[in-house]
Each structure stands twice: as structure tokens, then as C-alpha cells.
């Protein structure tokens, strides 16, 4: 099997995610883009696991999925806390800390 195509897809997903994190301003969309970056790693891990014929990459991918879920939970929690304080849900408007 040719690993190249799988890696191309995974790199594309990772780049879309990274570009989204850099350009979008809503924290919820940024969290979605972070998911894309993590899932790009999953695609690569599973393709490599198939290439090498061992299961280690698949186990790694499951661990990554769990971590991704945890991160989104925390992220949503912080966004809700911001919303309750009537703070702008916009990362460019959050500029109390700088200098």
C-alpha cells in the first residue's frame, strides 16, 4: 500500500486545522480546528499502523481521541465561564493581559 496518499490527506487536515486556529476568532471554532489537528494525527497514526502491521499506532490513536474529548470539555467549560461573566467570546477582544 502506498502511504503517501494517506499522509497527504492527514497533512491537509492538519494544515486546515492550523490555519483555522491562526485565523478564526471565536474560541468555539478554534476548538473545532484543534480537533482537526488531533484527528490529522490519528489518520497518520492509523495509516502507519497499517504500514508497519502492528497495533501500537491504533492504541495511540484511541488515547489521542480520549485526550481530544477532555480538551474540548475544558474548553467549553472556560467558554461558558467567560459567557457568564459577559466577556466577549472573541479571542481578539480578550486583551486584558498584554505588554
Amino acid at each position: 500500500m502506498n502511504i503517501g496518499w494517506y499522509l497527504a490527506v492527514s497533512t491537509l487536515i492538519f494544515s486546515i486545522g492550523a490555519a483555522g486556529v491562526l485565523t478564526r476568532r471565536n474560541p468555539l471554532v478554534i476548538l473545532l480546528c484543534l480537533e482537526l489537528m488531533l484527528n490529522a494525527a490519528n489518520v497518520a497514526l492509523i495509516a502507519f499502523a497499517r504500514m508497519h502491521g502492528n497495533g501500537e499506532g491504533q492504541i495511540f490513536a484511541i488515547v489521542v481521541m480520549v485526550v481530544a474529548a477532555c480538551e474540548v470539555c475544558i474548553g467549553l467549560g472556560v467558554v461558558v465561564a467567560l459567557y457568564r461573566r459577559r466577556l466577549p467570546i472573541d479571542v481578539d477582544e480578550l486583551r486584558e493581559l498584554q505588554g
Binding site: 502511504i3 492538519f14 486545522g17 492550523a18 486556529v21 474560541p27 478554534i30 484543534l34 489537528m37 488531533l38 490529522a40 494525527a41 497518520a44 497514526l45 495509516a47 502507519f48 504500514m51 508497519h52 502492528n54 501500537e56 499506532g57 492504541i59 495511540f60 488515547v63 489521542v64 485526550v67 477532555c70 480538551e71 475544558i74 474548553g75 467549560g77 472556560v78 467558554v79 465561564a81 467567560l82 461573566r85 466577556l87 479571542v91 480578550l94 486584558e96 493581559l97 498584554q98 505588554g99
Partner: protein, 505 residues
């Protein structure tokens, strides 16, 4: 056929079990109603947990064993770094005893998150597998994101939590993508397997491997705040509750450099020609950027953040050389870094609770005449961070420079010296403010100690700087001086740690 379960060496695993078990107990006891239990028993239990883990480390000292089918490895490096992490955690518990953050976040949750984060750090510094390395990194990071945002009424705390979450997650995602490529290039997630694969074939110039190394450097760079991945550091350090800032500054750095040592000086040692020059360049950039960034700061927490960026550069020099001496120097410097940083943060907390100026450098004006003891501790910490002789910081820097020159990176040693010279400009500014400026006229000791809070309806008394904060400041300040004059106990420890990565020479 049923798969065989791995044999678990519970004795070797006991420090980790103690930390996680302590976290569960603290969380459950924190649910009890009486206020005494929540405000006194819960932190005491957290302290006892850190003490137990450190004690179990003493019991296991000298062992070099693989745990859980080689997922973790308990050796002197893991135990020494665990002591640093437990000492930081215990100091953070004492520093937050009367702070606002645990009251807002319910004490049980706050201390349980602290313990979980410390457990993650222990997993990270003991990892022998890419999967455990990543799991440890996340177990350390995710509780810290929450802890940064625990002062929910203060906007800057929430902002720092969100910033840390987004930037930390970008770092993690990049790191895991890099680990995926390392696995792809070598066909193994096991450090020993990666080492074998790199040893036996001409993989060293394989583009998959190079991509993997580059991406994992970036990912760990975010965690250890290595320039140019350091931009989050000042904002997060300033916004987070100060005890958490102290914990992050020391323990996260110890854990991240433990991971650097395990991954680069362990698994990827045979590819040192690939990553050595790149990491050396990053170290030089980090030293310059950190020291220059600190020059214009007026907030002490921001100043400490930039200084921690610079210190990350010094520490990285010990990783770059990939020698036994470099490993010893890194561990020695991390121990010294613990003493001087916690001493400085304890004094910052004392001033933060006594004046309405918060962590501004103006809060320290004339401290030498009004409160000589905290001022003396702060002076020792600042001089040690700058690397003045007779403090532990000098010995640490000396050790790192010696390792750099010994490992044929003499130019990096010169960069460290130049960086230390630059750093005097801002460390001495703090010392000068304390001893040479007049104290402000109006006594400001009557403030509540939580000026940044909008709603003050938490009916608990205003937190003063209690005896425990002074004790932390005194203990760590004295340790900074003591190990500057008598460094041999720490030297012996570092030399023993040097034998734990057997492939180094």
C-alpha cells in the same frame, strides 16, 4: 486465546499510585460540609500526599526497573525529578492555603487538580513509550488549564486559562503529530524500539524521521516555553493565581525537560546530529529573547515569566550536548531553579496580599526598611537567578556552561554568559527598588488583600500573608544560599542521576 495481562510492579509504581489515590481522597473529603474540613484538612491531606509520594521515592531510590511492560521506567532521573515536582507541589499547597483561588474553586477540586497535574508530570518524566509520553503530557496540562482559570471572578484569570488552553492544545496537537511521524519512521512507539531502529539502519536522514523530530521539538517547546514558542508565557503567568504560577513555572519546566531528556537523550540519541544543532540554535534564541523581553517589565509576574523563558534556554543547553555531564547539569539546574523561583514567588505573594499594588514592582519599594526578612529572601533569589557567586544559581550556571563546553558547544556557553549579563539589568532593578527606594508614604497595610476582585461576597476573612508563606520563603531562600555555599549534596545527587540514562557517556 486470552491476552496475557502485563505484570505490574506495584512497589515501583507506588509513587504514582500515591499521587492519584491522594487526588481521589482529597476530592472526596472536599465534599464534606464543615468548613474546617474543607479549609484545613483538605490542604493537609494534599501535603501528606506529596510527602508520601516523595517518601516512596526515597524507598525506591537506586532501582532501575521497567514498569507495566516497559511503558514507564523508574530510575534515578524519574525519582529526582519527582522530588522536585513534589516539593513544588507542597510549596504550592502552602502558598494557596489562604489564597482566593481554592475558595472560589471549592477546595477539594483545586487540590485534587494540583495532585492530578503532579501525577501527570511523574508519568511524563518516567515515560518509556510515545503513548505514555503523550498521555503524561496531557494529564499534566489539562488540570493546569483549569487551575489557571480558577479565580472565576477575575477576568484576567479566565483569559489566561483560555489562552493557555488554546496555545497548549496547539502545542499538544503538534507534538502528537510529530510522535506519529516518529512512529511511522521507526515502526515502534517504544523508546527502546526507536533506539534499535535508529541504530541498525540509515534512517537518520529519513524525511519522516526529520519531520517527526521537528514537530515534537515544537510541541515540547510550547510546554517548556522555548522561544519562539514562548509568547503565551507572560500572559498566562500574569493572569493565573500566583501559587499556580509558581507551580507552573517550576514543576512544568522540570517535567518538560524530563521529557526532553527521555525523548532526545534517550530514544533519539543516535539522531543527535539531526537535532543537536537545531536545539542549540533554539537555546541561543531563547536566552536572548527571554532576557531582552524581561528588561522593560514592571509586573513582577511577567518579569518572572520572561526570566523563566531565559532559564529554559540555559536548561536546554544541558539537553543539547547529550552527554552524561549535560544530564547532570540539567537536573542540578532544575533543583536550583526550584529553590530560587519558589523563594521569589513566595515573596511576591506576601507583597500581593499586603499592598493594593499587586505584583507591580512598585509594591517592593522600600521593602528593605519596612520588612527586611522578605526583602533579604527576594534579594537572594534575584541574585541567584542572575547567577552571582555564593548562591545556588551560580553553581547551576557554572555546571551548565561546563557541560556545554565539554560537549563541543562552547559558543552556547558564551551565549549563556552574555545572557546572564543582560539579566542583571532587570534582576538588580528589583533589588534596587527594595533597598534604595523610599517606602511609599501612606501605609497600605489595611487593604483586603484581594483588590482585583469585583464581588467580595465571599464572607471569609481577607487573606493575609500567613506564617506558612513566610515559612516557604525562608526555607527556599535558605536553601538557595546553602546549596550555593555547600553544593556537594546536590552534586552527589546529580551524579547518581547521571547513571540512569545508560546510553549516554
Amino acid at each position: 486465546m486470552t491476552p496475557k495481562a502485563p505484570i505490574i510492579d506495584w512497589a515501583g509504581l507506588s509513587p504514582l499510585v500515591a499521587l492519584l489515590g491522594g487526588a481521589v481522597i482529597v476530592l472526596l473529603v472536599g465534599l464534606l460540609r464543615p468548613r474546617f474540613v474543607r479549609e484545613v484538612i483538605v490542604p493537609l491531606l494534599a501535603l501528606a500526599t506529596f510527602a508520601t509520594a516523595a517518601g516512596l521515592g526515597i524507598w525506591q531510590w537506586g532501582e532501575q526497573i521497567s514498569l507495566i511492560s516497559g511503558a514507564l521506567r523508574l530510575d534515578q532521573l524519574a525519582i529526582a525529578l519527582m522530588w522536585i515536582i513534589c516539593a513544588t507541589g507542597a510549596a504550592a499547597v502552602l502558598l494557596s492555603w489562604r489564597a482566593v483561588a481554592p475558595r472560589e474553586a471549592a477546595h477539594g477540586e483545586y487540590y485534587a487538580l494540583l495532585l492530578t497535574s503532579a501525577a501527570g508530570m511523574l508519568v511524563l518524566v518516567a515515560a518509556q513509550n510515545l503513548v505514555t509520553l503523550f498521555a503524561g503530557l496531557e494529564l499534566l496540562s489539562i488540570p493546569l488549564y483549569v487551575l489557571c482559570a480558577t479565580e472565576m471572578r477575575r477576568e484576567t484569570s479566565l483569559e489566561s486559562g483560555l489562552k493557555y488552553l488554546i496555545i497548549g492544545s496547539v502545542g499538544s496537537a503538534t507534538f502528537v503529530y510529530g510522535l506519529a511521524f516518529l512512529y511511522g519512521a521507526t515502526g515502534s512507539t517504544d523508546f527502546a524500539g526507536i533506539d534499535r531502529a535508529l541504530n541498525s539502519s540509515s534512517l537518520v536522514s529519513d524525511p519522516l524521521l526529520l519531520t517527526g523530530i521537528a514537530l515534537s521539538v515544537v510541541g515540547l517547546g510550547f510546554k517548556a516555553s522555548i522561544a519562539p514558542f514562548h509568547q503565551w508565557t507572560p500572559d498566562v503567568y500574569e493572569g493565573a493565581p500566583t501559587p499556580i504560577t509558581a507551580f507552573m513555572a517550576v514543576a512544568t519546566k522540570a517535567a518538560a525537560f524530563g521529557a526532553f531528556l527521555r525523548l532526545f537523550d534517550g530514544a533519539l540519541l543516535n539522531a543527535q546530529a539531526d537535532w543537536g544543532p537545531a536545539l542549540a540554535a533554539l537555546a541561543a534564541i531563547t536566552i536572548v529573547v527571554g532576557n531582552v523581553g524581561a528588561l522593560g517589565q514592571t509586573s513582577l509576574k511577567r518579569l518572572m515569566a520572561w526570566s523563566s523563558v531565559a532559564q529554559a534556554g540555559y536548561l536546554l543547553a544541558g539537553v543539547v550536548v547529550a552527554t552524561k555531564l549535560g544530564l547532570q547539569a540539567t537536573v542540578f539546574y532544575l533543583a536550583v531553579y526550584l529553590f530560587m523561583n519558589i523563594a521569589a514567588f513566595a515573596v511576591i505573594i506576601i507583597r500581593e496580599r499586603q499592598t493594593p499594588l499587586g505584583d507591580d514592582i512598585a509594591a517592593f519599594a522600600g521593602l528593605g526598611t519596612t520588612a527586611p526578612l522578605p526583602a533579604a529572601v527576594m534579594t537572594v533569589a534575584m541574585l541567584s537567578l542572575a547567577g552571582i557567586p555564593a548562591t545556588a544559581g551560580f553553581i547551576g550556571k557554572f555546571y551548565v556552561i561546563e557541560a556545554a563546553i565539554d560537549g563541543n558547544y562552547a559558543w552556547l556557553g558564551i551565549v549563556i554568559v552574555i545572557g546572564s549579563m543582560l539579566s542583571l539589568a532587570y534582576y538588580l532593578r528589583v533589588v534596587a527598588a527594595m533597598w534604595m527606594l523610599e517606602a511609599p508614604e501612606a501605609p497600605v497595610s489595611t487593604v483586603t488583600g484581594r483588590p482585583a476582585l469585583a464581588g467580595g461576597d465571599l464572607d471569609a476573612p481577607a487573606p493575609g500573608a500567613g506564617i506558612e508563606v513566610y515559612a516557604v520563603a525562608a526555607v527556599f531562600g535558605v536553601a538557595t544560599l546553602f546549596f550555593g555555599i555547600v553544593p556537594s549534596p546536590l552534586f552527589d545527587l546529580a551524579v547518581k542521576v547521571g547513571s540512569s540514562l545508560t546510553s549516554l557517556f
